[in-house]
Each structure stands twice: as structure tokens, then as C-alpha cells.
């Protein structure tokens, strides 16, 4: 790889539309100042920003433009699987399916062995193989870059599952007994489902469930095009790594501080 990791991180942050440095309007400046008060309060700041916009638009419509991105700090991850549990609870993901999970692997040989964790979820690729092959447009990209599956349109051909190199998608093979399917669209039978960065929570100005629940604060979520956002600042500061970069999918889930490539089988 000719490009240094830092450059790569910057490129990911800048990759859609106008880069962070181009945005200098007063509103953003004030938000940047606001964020400077404390890193963790930033999420709350973006919540308020998002909320005002949600009120102005249709609740189904994407609340904003931009590039929603998740940064996962592997040095912080303790492998507690809280993210996987929170995700299951949030979306009612069926048994045997996962929107979010943690891969574990022993790396090295005795006596230099470490057990490493790799929180996984849909990478919300900017060049998404699943989006290309979806025959009905059930898989679509929102203006903020989130890839969503519309369970009312999906025909369950599973071509997207074949096309996804991250195994981020699962199939609901069975009709639910009881009303679970109505409560949780993710359970619609005969359709494919995957992580959508909790788009309903994002529209309501909240963080995705896995981010909100992570006890080690290993995850950060925000708009990479907003220079004031935590993720944008992290990407400039830290060398960022994505999974399977040679497939050219340009993921919106970015890892820092670990060796995710050790999990890959190229």
C-alpha cells in the first residue's frame, strides 16, 4: 500500500462531497466550538442539530446529507458483546441472525499470543456490492450514506448476501408466530436484513444502539463531513484501517488502533 494509513484516514473522511476544510459557515463553527468543550458531549450536540432538522422533514426521509461513519477503537474494545446484545434488543433480530457481532481470534503463537476482538457490523460501503446487485431497489443508499434494506420491497433472492464480502447480511427464513414481525421490520419473513446504523435512532437524533451501549466507549459515530464531529477529528488524528480494502468497497466503518487485517483471509 503506497498510501500511508494517516492519508487513508483523511481520504475516508473527505471522500464524499466537500471535505471538512471547506465547511466554514457560522453554524458549523459554533458547533465546532461547542464540541471543543468535551468530546463526548459532541454526540449530544449532533443530536440537537439533527432533531431540529427532523422536525422539518418527513420522518421517513433521511434527516440530513453527509457521510455517516463509525470509528471503532480496537484498543478499547473488551470483547464484552454488549453491542451485539443491544443490537438484538433494538431491532428484534431473529435467532441465528446478526446485525452486529464481535469476532474473536487468537493471534500469534505461544508464548506471544493475544486474543483480539473485532466488532463487526455492516460496513455501509460507499461502493456497495449489495446495492449493485439488488434487483428491486430494496437496498438503497440514503443521502447520509447509510445503506438500508426495505423489507417491503425485498424479494429474498439473497444475491446481496452472496455479494457482501463482510457477511453483514442475514436472511429471515421463517414466518414469525405472534406479532413480532409487525413490531420489528427486521424480522419480515423471506427477506434479507442487515445493520442500517440504527437509522431510525439516527433520524431521531440518537446514536446507534451499539455506540450508545458500548461500556468501553470504543465506538464513535457521526458525520465525517462535519469537521467538528468526533469521528472527523479521530480520522485526522489516527491511522484508520478498513476491512478488505483491496475489494474497493470503501467502507464507512473504520477501525483504529488494532490489527483487523489479522482477521482477513484475503
Amino acid at each position: 500500500m503506497t498510501e500511508s494509513l494517516e492519508e487513508q484516514g483523511r481520504r475516508i473522511a473527505d471522500s464524499t462531497g466537500d471535505g471538512p476544510r471547506d465547511r466554514t459557515d457560522a453554524g458549523l463553527m459554533s458547533r465546532r466550538k461547542f464540541a471543543a468543550v468535551g468530546g463526548s458531549t459532541l454526540a449530544w450536540a449532533s443530536c440537537t442539530a439533527a432533531r431540529t432538522e427532523v422536525e422539518a422533514t418527513d420522518s421517513d426521509a433521511p434527516s440530513r446529507r453527509g457521510h455517516m461513519l463509525m470509528v471503532i477503537d480496537l484498543r478499547r474494545c473488551t470483547g464484552c458483546h454488549s453491542c451485539a446484545v443491544a443490537c438484538k434488543a433494538e431491532h428484534g433480530v431473529r435467532l441465528g441472525g446478526f446485525r452486529s457481532w464481535v469476532s474473536e481470534q487468537e493471534i500469534g503463537s505461544y508464548p506471544d499470543v493475544t486474543r483480539e476482538f473485532l466488532p463487526r457490523l455492516c460496513n455501509q460501503c460507499q461502493n456497495s456490492p449489495c446495492l449493485k446487485v439488488c434487483p428491486t431497489g430494496a437496498t438503497s443508499r440514503r443521502a447520509d450514506g447509510i445503506i438500508k434494506v426495505d423489507p417491503d420491497r425485498c424479494i429474498g433472492c439473497r444475491h446481496c448476501m452472496a455479494a457482501c464480502p463482510y457477511n453483514a447480511r442475514y436472511f429471515n427464513p421463517q414466518r414469525d408466530l405472534g406479532g413480532e414481525q409487525r413490531r420489528f421490520p427486521a424480522r419480515t419473513h423471506g427477506t434479507v436484513d442487515k445493520c442500517d446504523f440504527c437509522s431510525r435512532r439516527v433520524d431521531a437524533g440518537q446514536e446507534p444502539a451499539c455506540v450508545a451501549t458500548c461500556p468501553a466507549s470504543a465506538r464513535a459515530f457521526g458525520d465525517a463531513q462535519d469537521p467538528a464531529s468526533e469521528v472527523a477529528r479521530m480520522l485526522v488524528r489516527e491511522p484508520a484501517i478498513t476491512l478488505l480494502p483491496n475489494l474497493g468497497t470503501r467502507p464507512s466503518v473504520v477501525y483504529i488502533g488494532g490489527r483487523p487485517e489479522a482477521f482477513e483471509r484475503g
Binding site: 446487485v133 434487483p135 427464513p173 484475503g266
Partner: protein, 506 residues
């Protein structure tokens, strides 16, 4: 017309065959069991199958769809070759091949409907919301076109026979007369049919290639799974289709030959020639397999090699080597010897070899679809499941062949599956009629409407209903040959039209 010479061809229609009745009974029972299994499957869902999100999302069903689509290729390949290259000797199997095409296309659509998670909405959503960049939409488009065009082709090539049968004293003569839609067997009509069919055959070949290429692209365009991403996938699939198509045709032809004592009609020479073609394409196919595996083994990236190792020495090795040795190499040897040596042709042997090849092709498709999904590039959320099809899955998947058998028998009892020889001279042309201009107008209007619909669909490809527009346009275009033959023109009024037909189509 009904001379002794034509009688053997009509045996399926005129004679009662005990074997056929038994076959009918078995197939009907199998179909009933298939329907029962499908209902069970549709109620209980995909959990009853061996497929899973973290093992193989695509299983036996998809492999079988590829296989059936492959078989469907044969009709057009053979009858187009026969017609375009004027291989009159092999006209005896052309129609049989076309019927095999249409039946297997129908079965493929049934299988696709059963494989998707939502059979209730798959056709509507694909046509209504289809995205132009999705291989599934390409497939829906080209299969619709292929089905419509092959249907028109089969009908036009059969129209004279329908008329001939309607003049005979048969049980269904009256129905067949209606089906011939006013055919009168004049010289001009014969010429026009030949001419139309000639050009239709030429157009059908690229459509056939596109169908099978699209199925190759289902896999070849996906870089996600090692073992699939391969620019050769499209030609590989076209070749595979030729192999499975020819082998299926040989088996069906041999069955019919023994059933109706058709030793004169489908003679030894035909089998020798079909066997030789099959030997050649099997050899080419083996070459593709070797090239694919060498690439994966030589410099292969880790994941590619994992899939290749699984095939050559790993979990799938028994299936792989049985397929290659028993299903491709050994039959190749048999067919090769039968083709080049001056040994007496043994139809049973050729048919047996062809059956082995056909089965091997099905296994080869399974070996394409499954292993690549079993060796993911990244760890799965839970331990991966080794794919093994369930009994219900096999019944649901292969039960469609029973429907295919029933359809074949039904067609067999209705129309001659071998073209009737043109024994009589054509009737004299009728008196001049008006109508040529009407025909021209209708054809021009259809053509314009079809092209307009296609362009409308392509231009509005980002909007809903675009695939419906272009598919409707393409199907409309396939009615042009029908109109050309069905709308009666004035043959005597001006013979220029038919003169042209003479030296182009013969």
C-alpha cells in the same frame, strides 16, 4: 398426405403406449408429492432447507436453476445451427430440442420462484422496481425475451405440421386446425415461414448466449466470494450450457427412439454426430476446469486457494473427482471412441454417457455455488454451517422435473416432435388479395411501439416500472415474425416480397 412414410412420426399421437401411461402415472404421483412438499416448504419457510445465512445462502436450488437454464440452451443452439447452416439431416431433432428449451425455461422460472424468499412478490417487484444494474433484472429481461422468441420460433416452425395434422383423421384434428391459425400451405406461405425462421434463428443465437452469460455474471461479477470472481465465468457458463443441453437432448432423444421404435427417424448417424459434438464440448469444458483450478493453485490469493483446495483435496474432493472422472472424462472417452472409430453406433452407450455428463454438470454447478460460500474472507458471527441439502429441499428442487416430464408427454401426444417431411407439393397460390399493405403497416407499428417501449424504459431506467417497459417492448418485438407469417398478404399481387424470400431464406 398421410402416407405410410409419415406414420412412424405420428406414433406418439396415434398409438397407445403402455410405457408412456406408466410414466405418466409415476410422474403424476411425483408431481403430487412435489406439490405437497412445496406447500410444506412455503408454510414452514426456508428453515426446512439446508441453506443458512452463515453457511450457504444459495444452495441446491440455485445450482439447479443454473442447470435447468443450461439445458434450455440446447433447442436454439441446435435448431438455429440446423437452419442457418442448412443441415437438413439433423432436422429430425431440431423440434425436440426446441420443446426441451421451452419446458426447461418454464421449470427454471418455477424453481426461481421457489428459491426466493418471497415468491408472492418476486415477479411484480422485479418488473416494477427493478434496477438496471442488477444481474437479476438482466436475467428477468433476457429470460422473458428468450422464452417469447423461442415460443414464436417453435410455433412458426410447427405451423405447417399443425395444419397437416388437422387434415388427417385424428382425435384432436379440429383443435390442431384452430391452432394452425389459418395456415393453408401455399408456396408463398412456405417461403415466408422459411425466410422468417431463418432470420429468427440468427437473432436467437445471441439471445441464448446472453441468457447464459448473465447466469455466469451472477457469480463472476461478485468479488466478495473467492472462487466466483472471474471474467471467464460468462463463457464458462455458455459452454456449460452447451454441455448440459446436448447431453439432455441425447438422453431424451434416445428415450423417445426406444419408446416409439424410431430407429429410422432418429438414426444412428444422428446419435453419432450428437455424441461427437458432446465429446468436443466436454473436452473444452475440462479445459476450462483445469485452467480455473491452475490459476487458483498457482499464484492464488489465500481465499482463492482455500476454495480450490476444498475442491481438489478437501471436503468437496470426493464429489469433485467423481464429477470430473466419472461424469466428464470417462463419458468423453466413450463418446470419443464412438465418434471416431468405425465401430457400430451403440445408442444405449451414447445415451448412458450423456446421462452421466448431465448429472456431472448438475454436480459441477453445486460445486460452483456451494464451496465459494463456505470459505468466507472474514470470520462469521457464528461457526459456519457445512451445507447439506435436506430431503425436502431435494424434493422441492428436483420435483419440477416431474412437471417437465408430464409437459413433454402432453406435447408428445398433441403435436409431432419430429418435423413432418414435406412430401406434397405446395398448394397453388391463391388469387391476389389486398392485405400486404396492412401487414406492412402492422409490422411497422409493432416494431415502432416495441422500440419506443424499450427506449422509454432505458431512458427512464432510474424510475419505477422501467424493466416492465423494456421487457414489454422486447416481447412486442418478438411478435413481428408472428405478424409477418400470420397476417395474410397478397402473394400474387406482387411477387417481389416472395422473390426476396427465395434467395435469402430458401
Amino acid at each position: 398426405m398421410d402416407t405410410i412414410q409419415t406414420m412412424p412420426i405420428l406414433r406418439p399421437i396415434t398409438e397407445k403406449s403402455r410405457a408412456l401411461q406408466i410414466a405418466n402415472g409415476i410422474l403424476a404421483a411425483a408431481t403430487a408429492y412435489w406439490v405437497f412438499s412445496c406447500v410444506r416448504f412455503l408454510i414452514q419457510g426456508h428453515t426446512t432447507l439446508g441453506t443458512s445465512s452463515y453457511g450457504a445462502a444459495w444452495g441446491l436450488g440455485v445450482a439447479n436453476i443454473v442447470h435447468i437454464i443450461g439445458i434450455s440452451h440446447v433447442g436454439i443452439a441446435i435448431s438455429a445451427t440446423v437452419r442457418v447452416l442448412r443441415l437438413g439431416r439433423y432436422r429430425n431433432i431440431a423440434r425436440l430440442a426446441e420443446v426441451v428449451t421451452l419446458i426447461s425455461l418454464l421449470l427454471a422460472v418455477i424453481n426461481i420462484a421457489l428459491d426466493v424468499g418471497r415468491p408472492d412478490r418476486f415477479v411484480l417487484n422485479t418488473l416494477a422496481y427493478g434496477r438496471w444494474h442488477a444481474p437479476m433484472v438482466w436475467s428477468a429481461t433476457v429470460i422473458s425475451l428468450y422464452f417469447a422468441a423461442s415460443g414464436v420460433y417453435l410455433y412458426l416452425s410447427m405451423r405447417r405440421d399443425l395444419w397437416v395434422l388437422s387434415t388427417m383423421d385424428l382425435k384432436l384434428s379440429r383443435l390442431l386446425g384452430y391452432l394452425s391459425l389459418g395456415y393453408r400451405d401455399t408456396a408463398a406461405e412456405r417461403r415466408r415461414h422459411e425466410h422468417t425462421l431463418f432470420w429468427l434463428a440468427i437473432l436467437l443465437v445471441p439471445i441464448m448466449v446472453s441468457v447464459h452469460s448473465v447466469y455466469g455474471m451472477f457469480f463472476g461479477l461478485l468479488s466478495a466470494k473467492a472462487g466466483w470472481y472471474n471474467p471467464l465465468q460468462a463463457p464458462y457458463f455458455v459452454l456449460g450450457a452447451v454441455v448440459s443441453g446436448f447431453s439432455a437432448l441425447i438422453v431424451v432423444a434416445a428415450l423417445l427412439r426406444s419408446l416409439f421404435r424410431w430407429t429410422e427417424i432418429i438414426d444412428d448417424r444422428t446419435f453419432r454426430a450428437l455424441g461427437a459434438i458432446l465429446a468436443f464440448v466436454v473436452f473444452l469444458y475440462l479445459y476450462f476446469v483445469a485452467s480455473e483450478q491452475l490459476t487458483a493453485q498457482y499464484a492464488g490469493p489465500v481465499a482463492e486457494r482455500a476454495v480450490s483446495n476444498a475442491l481438489l483435496i478437501g471436503r468437496f474432493a470426493p464429489t469433485f473427482w467423481i464429477t470430473i472422472i466419472g461424469g466428464l472424462v470417462a463419458p468423453f472417452a466413450i463418446l470419443f471412441v464412438q465418434a471416431i472409430r468405425p465401430v457400430p453406433v451403440r445408442v444405449g452407450l451414447i445415451a448412458g454417457a450423456a446421462a452421466a455428463v448431465n448429472l456431472a454438470m448438475l454436480l459441477k454447478r453445486v460445486l460452483l455455488v456451494i464451496p465459494a460460500q463456505q470459505y468466507p474472507r472474514l470470520p462469521l458471527p457464528r461457526p459456519g454451517v457445512a451445507y447439506l441439502p435436506t430431503t425436502l429441499e431435494s424434493v422441492v428442487t428436483f420435483g419440477t422435473y416431474a412437471i417437465g416430464g408430464l409437459l413433454l408427454i402432453g406435447i408428445l401426444k398433441l403435436v409431432p416432435l419430429v418435423e413432418l417431411p414435406v412430401a406434397s407439393a405446395a398448394r397453388r397460390d391463391d388469387a391476389p388479395r389486398r392485405g400486404r399493405s396492412i401487414r406492412g403497416l402492422v409490422i411497422a407499428a409493432t416494431f415502432a411501439a416495441g422500440v419506443a417501449l424499450i427506449s422509454w424504459g432505458v431512458l427512464t431506467r432510474e424510475l419505477d416500472l422501467a424493466p416492465l417497459k423494456w421487457t414489454a417492448g422486447l416481447i412486442l418485438l418478438t411478435t413481428v415474425p408472428l405478424e409477418r407469417c400470420l397476417i395474410r398478404g397478397g402473394p400474387g399481387g406482387s411477387s417481389s416480397d416472395d422473390d426476396r424470400a427465395d434467395h435469402v431464406g430458401g
